[in-house]
Symmetry: C2
Subunit: 254 residues, 2 copies
Amino acid sequence: MSGPTITYSALPEIPLIKRGDDLVKVITAGIDRAGINLRTGDIIAVAQKIVSKAQGRFIDLNDVEPSPRAIEIARRTKKDPRFVEVILSESEEVLREREGILIVVHRHGFVMANAGVDHSNVAGDEDRLLLLPEDPDGTCADIKAALDNKFGVDIGVLINDSFGRAWRNGVVGVALGAAGVPSLRDMVGEPDLFGRPMRVTQVAVADELSAGASLLMGQGAEGLPVVHIRGFKRSGKTCVAASLIRPKHLDLFR
Amino acid sequence: MSGPTITYSALPEIPLIKRGDDLVKVITAGIDRAGINLRTGDIIAVAQKIVSKAQGRFIDLNDVEPSPRAIEIARRTKKDPRFVEVILSESEEVLREREGILIVVHRHGFVMANAGVDHSNVAGDEDRLLLLPEDPDGTCADIKAALDNKFGVDIGVLINDSFGRAWRNGVVGVALGAAGVPSLRDMVGEPDLFGRPMRVTQVAVADELSAGASLLMGQGAEGLPVVHIRGFKRSGKTCVAASLIRPKHLDLFR
């Protein structure tokens, strides 16, 4: 007798993604290659990097003119002033700086290091940077609509990234975008094992799914940027990943 | 052609756990009931609550005499002074307080709400509290040694809990304890897709595994406190979950 099961499967042989690539086609081909019969309730997690690449979110450091503020922060953090300029242009607020570290509030609301600006894994020279996707929740909704339509199903779609955290070492997968997923599941009032109403608990379901997908994506030397998730019982209302961002006035650690 | 896969399966029909119960026997019976042939590399995730219950980490609020400091904090946070006294006795430091909220550094080093002191899901009256387990890494090592020996394998064992976070809404699964798992996997120097050395990245593998397990544990109305994980490729050195705690002098958000 087996119990409830959730399975994360990386789609094999996803090609390197370039600006303008159609991710729906890439994901569909991956699903076909894996022999998966997509079903209602399944979830597709897509790595932030391939979404950013498909959207052409590249910046060449040589095109960047650092502002006086970027030069000053770069001096204190010992970073490239042009890199700092790009981070600032992606950010609403700088929360912390220390040598090698810059924690900001991204324009999308995420509190994260370097505004998610990255230079790993981008083809070409060291001077090429990759920014976060534009409108990750909207992109998830678009991908979900296209896949729902193509396969005649009602699935979930996530864009996941890896974030550092306060208080704990190491990065973990989190959801940048979501569609068709109860991203923040409200457990208020559901009875506990003994039938008493539970106190307020919200579960960051989209982040837990993203962590599971992220772990598998990190398991391949050659990169596994799309993961198919099956067995998660969708309950509660679906909501976008933006609902996972704590409003500033309720945040005790800003 | 299927890609790499990680599967999380809840062990069915785990009984309610009482003080003094032998968790190794409970887990073994669950593995047998599920028809799982435990293999080297598999991981067993155990919910904090059943570890605490088996260890008898109960406190009766009626036995608690609140200190003047607990009474003062209780007044400001609008909590029961006896509940605050228990939290303080489990804590090294109070980081933040606000009405209904008390964020502390637990004696084990975890930054968390209410020092993990809980009154949900404990049989009996509302006045019975449950504390975090003693020595979660040591308990994982003990469970691993017993299961390794019983099944002739080399597995991983986790104790997971759900923590709130700075900046993001909702709780997510994290590892309180670990054995036989590369809890914090060091990606420093591993080449990226284009062969350049990656910059320093540490992945909180035990937290990602715990998030995956936690999601499944939360899927059952009747509680699914033990999850079997298969397919995770163990690489890198194993280390305890305590390695996930960022030292205070390196923490920008304390």
